[in-house]
Amino acid sequence: MVDFARVQKELQECNRDFEVSGIKVVPKSDASLAHLLGTITGPLGTPYEGGTFKIDITLPDGYPFEPPKMRFATKVWHPNISSQSGAICLDILKDQWSPALTLKTALLSVQALLSAPEPDDPQDAVVAQQYLRDYPTFMGTARYWTEAFARTSSLGVEEKVQKLVEMGFPDALVRSTLESVEGDENMALEKLCSG
């Protein structure tokens, strides 16, 4: 059984200093604390700067004795993150997990991974190859993906709704979808398109 008392505490703790850390975790629905949505900001001085990245979090029953399952919901171009599935290659999310770690420390590690790719232990072989053989192109692609997928726009909710409704999606569905991804219109669009 997930230790929900601890998860509750973690969420409060984590969201208290969002302004400083740029890290946030919220439940995906009111129904359960086992599915969470994390947010990290792209580190300054990296091709991820200026991006806001959503991370899909599932807590296994054994949490905190087993690591949280995390994957990027926002598309990202990085040697240790699958450009297809968002799967993350990070030791503390696998065998180096410890129950003294938290969702926040895990997300901080993910954020640190964005600053310090490890192409020798890749999750995405194509990205890793590019990183090692053609660094300028890697930087360009990573920056482009940040622009395209991780830029939070300054549009208000109603403007986002209008934009998506104009694309042909029903109003109510647009609103609920936007809400489920915390107002990220790129993710909402992706969700709406995938049905």
């Binding site: 059984m1 601890r6 029953d61 087993e66 129950p99």
Partner: protein
Amino acid sequence: MSSSVNESTHWCYRCRQPVRPPTLDLICPSCDNDFLQELSEALGNMQSHSRDRLAQSFYTGMPMLGLSEIYKQRSPIFLNPHPAIEAMPSITITRRHVKSGLQCPVCQEDFERDTEAKQMPCNHLYHFDCIFPWLVQHNSCPVCRLQLRPESNGSKIMRALISFFWPFGGSSDQNTQYNLDSDD
């Protein structure tokens, strides 16, 4: 032999009973969690006869007990508790601990005055219930990752725990559902 016992292949840490996962997915059939360990591994290299009987006492007597309850209720018959657990001192939480805001790193609750905590060799403190499930499968302090002595690894601790309740000597009413020798 009860066939339901023979079919169990894994120990569920949530239900605290032997279970048989339906697929290779390793999910407990009664609670759906995946916090399972192979029964044979959990039982270590005990002799097969003992293992069968042990599984029976697991099955009939143990399901509802928490680990610390099992620990506390362990039979006085058993004379050789494992050093790894025995050597880990219990300390009583003092006012000083409470004042310093000391928390159990696993559940992240403040320690309460006059309660007991387990002290790892590195001095890190945990509730017994919080550190035990970790030590069953790992060999290190969650905070500083200090390795415990190599001989006190997870499976050996598990073996020691099992030794505590076999031969099963807990309250007899829990043990009467199944006569251990009836089918032999």
